[in-house]
């Protein structure tokens, strides 16, 4: 979707000599790209302005280094500032007297009801006993929606008739929780606009009647420039204690998180990562920062990889790779490992700078090509896989026939494979290897 900031900065700094210090003029060009990247990521205009000012101060006069490109240097600063702004993850405050009340608020359709159920499940996993409260009497079937979710999880839901005012329902729910030994009460309130006086007053009343420990704003990660005003509006009325960002499983860059953090200062506590009730994650600032910069979700990918990839196989092929002994059989093994990571489009979404690829070729095509490549290698004899040089035209014809592909495709594969081998040989040079490591490890 978007070109990554790093790619763009690479372009800006292409002409730059790698010695001396970053001048004000160099920085100015780079900051233009930073500004555009943040705006594209939906960070609020005014927040961007202030943010870019901070980067400017840090970047001008910075000493250039041989190991890392100026572009990487600026991205590193941006990344650090983003981390600073996003802040660390904070646990739910469950101190003091039980029952602890958690109140969820937000605009219409942001994900409050689903998140209420997710939180309940999350807390039950750590041995709490939650009670869900249906405090949305306005939206058609909102009460029923929460009841269904409660049934699915086998977690109790407190509800009353939709004619009862929500502050009364919530107050009654607390009594029920006390009597029934529920130590956590989660209030699912109706979606509302922050400018709707009457409904905002209703929230104030609910808060007064239930003294929640946590008042969490549930915000859609796709929110645009208005995130600032929405967050301010809710914060002003009910003093938010935290933020939950939902629908992060899409391709939204999530700049709204920066905006909301900047104006409210409250910590981001959780991310909603899907429609299913276990799809909630404790917030990680580094992941979100990378995402906002379009650097992909490398950490998630690495974690996935650790889960599914056979370490022995990976180690063996890495060793071979570095020794330059990598053959088509290893290649096949690797393809099989990659497939384990999940559908290709998902994997690619997580890779930095790969957004561009999906712009030009569809991941379906890639999936298809992956399959064909596998078929080709599968149709080769073991000797051919280990030594593709022996593939003469009659062998190629046989392989093409066996795999249902063409000789041309086989030639393509072999030439790609040769290039890869060449690149790997280069990597045996320690300097080049260090460069590669810098590229991937530069942001830790």
């Amino acid at each position: 979707m978007f070109e990554s900031l790093q790619d763009k900065l690479q372009g800006v700094f292409e002409q730059l000599n790698r010695r001396g210090r970053l001048s004000e003029a160099d920085v100015k060009l780079a900051l233009r790209e930073v500004r555009m990247a943040l705006l594209e990521a939906d960070v609020n205009f005014k927040v961007v302005k202030e943010f870019v000012g901070r980067i400017r101060e840090r970047a001008i006069g910075i000493e250039l280094s041989k190991n890392i490109t100026p572009g990487q240097q600026v991205v590193k600063i941006v990344h650090e500032e983003l981390l600073e702004t996003l802040g660390d993850s904070a646990p739910l405050d469950l101190g003091g007297k039980s029952p602890h009340v958690i109140m969820l608020v937000g605009l219409q359709g942001s994900g409050k009801t689903t998140t209420a159920a997710k939180l309940a499940l999350h807390l039950r996993k750590s041995k709490h006993s939650p009670l869900l409260v249906a405090a949305d009497t306005r939206r058609p079937a909102a009460i029923e929606q929460l009841k269904v979710l409660g049934r699915q999880l086998d977690i109790p839901v407190y509800s009353e008739d939709s004619s009862v005012p929500p502050p009364d329902i919530c107050a009654n729910a607390i009594k029920v929780a006390k009597a029934g030994a529920n130590n956590i009460v989660i209030l699912d309130t109706a979606g509302r606009l922050q400018i709707d006086e009457a409904l905002m007053d209703e929230l104030v009343q609910i808060k007064q009647r239930t003294s929640p420990k946590e008042v969490l704003l549930v915000a859609d990660s796709m929110t645009g420039q208005e995130a600032v005003r929405v967050a301010e509006g809710f914060d002003e009325k009910v003093d938010l204690t935290g933020l939950i960002l939902t629908k992060i499983d899409g391709d939204a860059r999530g700049g709204a998180a920066i905006s909301i953090r900047s104006v409210t200062g409250v910590p981001i506590k959780f991310l909603g990562t899907g429609e299913k009730l276990n799809e909630i994650e404790v917030f990680h600032p580094d992941r979100l920062a990378s995402r906002i910069l379009g650097m992909g979700d490398v950490l998630t990918l690495i974690e996935r990889a650790e889960e599914v990839i056979d370490e022995e196989v990976a180690e063996r092929s890495a060793k071979k790779l570095l020794e330059g002994n990598f053959n088509l059989e290893d290649f096949l093994e690797q393809l099989q490992q990659i497939k384990k990571l999940g559908p290709l489009n998902k994997v690619i979404d997580m890779l930095p700078g790969m957004g561009d690829i999906t712009k030009t070729i569809s991941t379906d095509d890639m999936e298809d090509r992956l399959k064909r490549t596998q078929a080709i290698i599968n149709s080769m004899t073991l000797t051919e896989r280990r030594n593709p040089k022996i593939l003469n035209s009659s062998r190629k014809k046989r392989v093409a026939k066996g795999s249902g592909t063409t000789v041309q495709e086989i030639n393509q594969l072999i030439s790609q494979f040769r290039q890869m081998q060449k690149m790997m040989k280069k990597l045996r040079n320690p300097r080049a290897r260090q460069n590669l490591m810098n590229m991937f490890g530069g942001f830790r």
Binding site: M36, E40, D42, Q145, V148, E226, D251, P343
Partner: protein
């Protein structure tokens, strides 16, 4: 267009006018053009979610025209900007909904929570008031109580709702909805679908399947595939429109929740890059809070003095 209510659109956009675009008006009302005006203008457009790129291009175009046409007064620059903004929204084929046929089928798609189900209730209300007999298909069999939600709306607006059990095959719901529309001689079927993020390959495939089921049953169906976008959404709306257009050939867009402080400026970027027209806007949670989109009224409304 249709029974288009100008006051309603004004009312819905009042808040918008009071904020960013209102400022643009003040900004451009008096005096001569200067550099600061252009800068402020760009800032205001970006803050209206028009997007940095589209905003810059718009301003560039207006600057060029101002130069070429020898315009020096700010008010005239405003006229040019309005024209250019409208240009991005205009020139598309009219909706096929109003063509004459036995049964018109509308498929409603979009990401989670954008306002699909509510918009369907509003559409049913809107077309029934024009004397059409509307049947609703409860194609979201996935989300908790989505079926109940549509049933309640159906009752309120007086439309029959065809529904299966939770977790039933949505394809079967589409099939039954169309079958019953033909049997009951209804003139319109509006099909609700589960919210889905545009990046989810299998879910997008599912919509394709729904379309082909509809097509097999009713010639040319679905006659309109509407993408419902949350007006609060920023630049991601472009990605949504792009993916939904590619996968299921959406023919129009509905932008909801414009009764809030959000500006819906993303509409311009979508018009410009994807050439998908906006058909309606949503300005509230009630069944009457739907306005047929009219680019002139929309842009005028945004610029009007309060």
């Amino acid at each position: 267009m249709f029974g288009f209510n100008r006051n309603k659109i004004k009312e819905g956009l009042t808040r918008t006018r009071n904020s960013v675009f209102g400022q643009i008006t003040t900004l451009m009302g008096g005096g001569d053009i200067d550099d600061e005006m252009w800068e402020d203008l760009e800032a205001l457009l970006i803050q209206a979610d028009v997007g940095a790129e589209t905003s810059m291009e718009l301003i560039e175009t207006v600057r060029e025209r101002v130069q070429r046409e020898g315009i020096y007064r700010a008010v005239d620059a405003q006229r040019v900007l309005k024209e250019e903004m409208q240009n991005l929204l205009d020139g598309y084929a009219p909706s096929k909904i109003d063509e004459h046929r036995l049964v018109t089928v509308i498929l409603v798609v979009g990401v989670n929570g954008s306002g699909k189900t509510t918009t369907i209730a509003k559409l049913a209300n809107y077309y029934q008031k024009q004397g059409r007999r509307v049947i609703l298909g409860a194609g979201d069999t996935f989300r908790a109580a989505a079926i109940d939600q549509l049933k309640i709306w159906g009752e309120r607006v007086g439309s029959t709702v065809i529904a299966h059990q939770e977790n039933a095959d949505p394809g079967a719901v589409v099939f039954d909805s169309l079958k019953s529309a033909l049997a009951r001689k209804a003139d319109m079927v509006i099909i609700d679908t589960a919210g889905r993020l545009h990046t989810k390959f299998n879910l997008m495939k599912e919509v394709e399947k729904l379309k082909s089921i509809a097509r097999k049953q009713v010639h040319g169906a679905p006659h309109e595939t509407l993408l419902v976008l949350d007006g609060t959404t920023g630049q991601n709306a472009l990605s949504q429109a792009k993916h939904f257009k590619k996968a299921v050939e959406i023919t129009g867009v509905v932008v909801t929740k414009l009764d809030g402080t959000a500006k819906g400026g993303v509409v311009l970027a979508i018009g410009k890059t994807l050439e998908v027209p906006v058909r309606f806007i949503g300005v509230g949670e009630g069944v009457d809070d739907l306005i047929p989109f009219d680019s002139k009224a929309f842009v005028d409304g945004l610029f009007e003095e309060v």
